[in-house]
Amino acid sequence: MIREDLEVVNHTLLAVDTYELILRGRLVRDIKQPGQFVHIRTSADEYLRRPVSISDYSMEEETITLLYKMIGKGTKALTNYQAGDTLDVLGPGGRGFPVKALPGERILLTGGGIGVPPLYRLARELFEKGAELTIILGFQSVDHAFLREEFQQYGEVRVMTNDGSSGNKGYVTDGIAQMAAPIDRYYTCGPTPMLKAVVQQLGDTEGYISMEERMGCGIGACFACVVPSHDEKGYKRICCDGPVFHHKEVVLS
């Protein structure tokens, strides 16, 4: 993990309040797995950096692609950055998704809202290992949806929206319930209630979940972003032990 002033290469609006930010710098060389994140200083005024997952990256171009949703003051400040500006970034942080797949294995990827982006690079790497992917993406509505077409190159995509304006009406768990064949493994990212529902629904199937939480230091020192765990220690730090956990590692509430 390093701190670097990354150059903004491109910054575009993808969907309602959802932006794609492409940054360039040598930090990309340290990326080990899909699902890691960067910790961004969005303005000089803010004390807390904002963690954003890495959606995709290119070692050749030395770029990382981030998708974020404008929710509060920090992410609003982030929207002001334009191509050519620099952004103070700490990263890459955390443990990402273990890319485990044998040719022909059936793997489910499911994400909700701004939990979708970290699954994008993962989909490519699992696809390259020969896995058969079912990708279930959940959004509020068609106006909030993104990456639907891009995911199609890696597997069968099903979109679920709360109002049925894109794909089927319902939650990602409804999409999972409609799946015909059993799966060997799943990967999921989204709000904690969604993760909990997915984990319950899929029972003992091997799964990996990526969690989000307000963070402080982002490097494991401040204990702001903890989640209860089943081990003797009793907790995991989302920023450095996660954000990706085996589904039996942590206690979701």
């Binding site: 509060g72 982002g218 907790y235």
Partner: protein
């Protein structure tokens, strides 16, 4: 430029150290720079048993600062002695252990166990984020003096009492700590605060209240140190919102002998080392030849030097 500071139990090569709770037990920051560069490290609070702390969210932004309600999460004093202190000792940096508890007995137990492994104790009677103990001891001069005396009795190293700003008269609390036998004071802990989320209509932090730290706290801390400095005969470690070397000079002039940097570590993990590098030039800029010369300068007879024209 002489940046050395001598305090009870502590010989610091510079007056800058990370504040308790913002630096864990040093491991994470040791990846960014050698901890030996620091004046000292103040460890995250230790309690008798391991504590999980509060539910999340535990942090929130606030104008000019941030709120936290971690709730003294730590692996417990035995584990800290076994797993964490050996790592810090190997870094060749003075260690201050922050001692917390819910009862006087717990404070005494932790101090007794940990003191022989470190250079000084910081007695945390000012944590606002736990239901029992913590700031209760820091808001009552009788309780503060009592717990200080009992901890000093069992400690083999000097004890610095960390004061809370959540009091009507800080001087009363400082004197109580001094009467209890404190070798120094740490000033100040966070100010109890709250934010409410307009969407959920509930407090932003799951604990409800949290501690305000950062730049917004600095003038409060400067004021309190300036008040306490002439009233006690023990040194003060100053903290609250330090982000620049000019901030540090301000703390020294108000009466602090050394300083701790807290939430600014989150903005910039290299902040302590950067401040250490810049401090000599800033002291020189304001007409000082050493750190110790600046301490309490806001209280002394005015002498014309450098930029200063009385």
């Amino acid at each position: 430029m002489n940046t050395v500071v001598h305090l009870p139990g502590l010989s610091l090569k510079n007056p800058i150290m990370p504040a308790s709770g913002c630096f864990g037990f040093g491991r994470e920051y040791a990846r960014f720079y050698p901890l030996a560069d620091l004046g000292a490290v103040i460890m995250k609070a230790a309690t008798g048993e391991k504590r999980y702390g509060n539910p999340t969210p535990r942090v929130a932004e606030a104008a000019g600062g941030m709120l936290n309600a971690i709730g003294l999460q730590n692996p417990g004093v035995d584990s800290i002695i076994r797993e964490e202190i050996p790592f810090l000792k190997a870094q060749q940096v003075p260690i201050i252990a922050n001692v917390a508890g819910s009862t006087v007995e717990e404070y005494v137990e932790v101090a007794e166990k940990i003191s022989s492994h470190v250079d000084a104790l910081e007695l945390n009677i000012s944590c606002p984020n736990v239901k029992e103990g913590g700031v209760q001891f820091g808001m009552d001069p009788v309780l503060a003096e009592d717990v200080t005396r009992k901890v000093v009795q069992v400690s083999s190293v000097p004890v610095y009492v960390k004061l809370s700003p959540n009091v009507s008269d800080i001087v009363v609390m400082a004197r109580a700590a001094e009467r209890g036998g404190a070798s120094g004071l740490s000033m100040i802990n966070t100010l109890t605060a709250m934010r409410v989320d307009p969407s959920s209509r509930k407090p932003t932090l799951s604990n409800g209240t949290g501690g305000l730290s950062g730049a917004a706290l600095k003038p409060v801390s400067i004021r309190m140190i300036h008040q306490v400095y002439p009233e006690v005969g023990i040194p003060i470690i100053g903290m609250g919102g330090i982000e620049t070397t000019a901030d540090i000079v301000e703390y020294l002039l108000a009466g602090a002998s050394a300083v701790a940097v807290g939430s600014a570590n989150f903005k910039n993990p290299f902040i302590c080392r950067e401040l250490i590098e810049e401090l000599p030039d800033t002291l020189k800029h304001y007409g000082f030849q050493s750190v110790e010369e600046a301490v309490g300068g806001a209280h002394r007879e005015r002498v014309e030097t450098g930029l200063f024209r009385p």
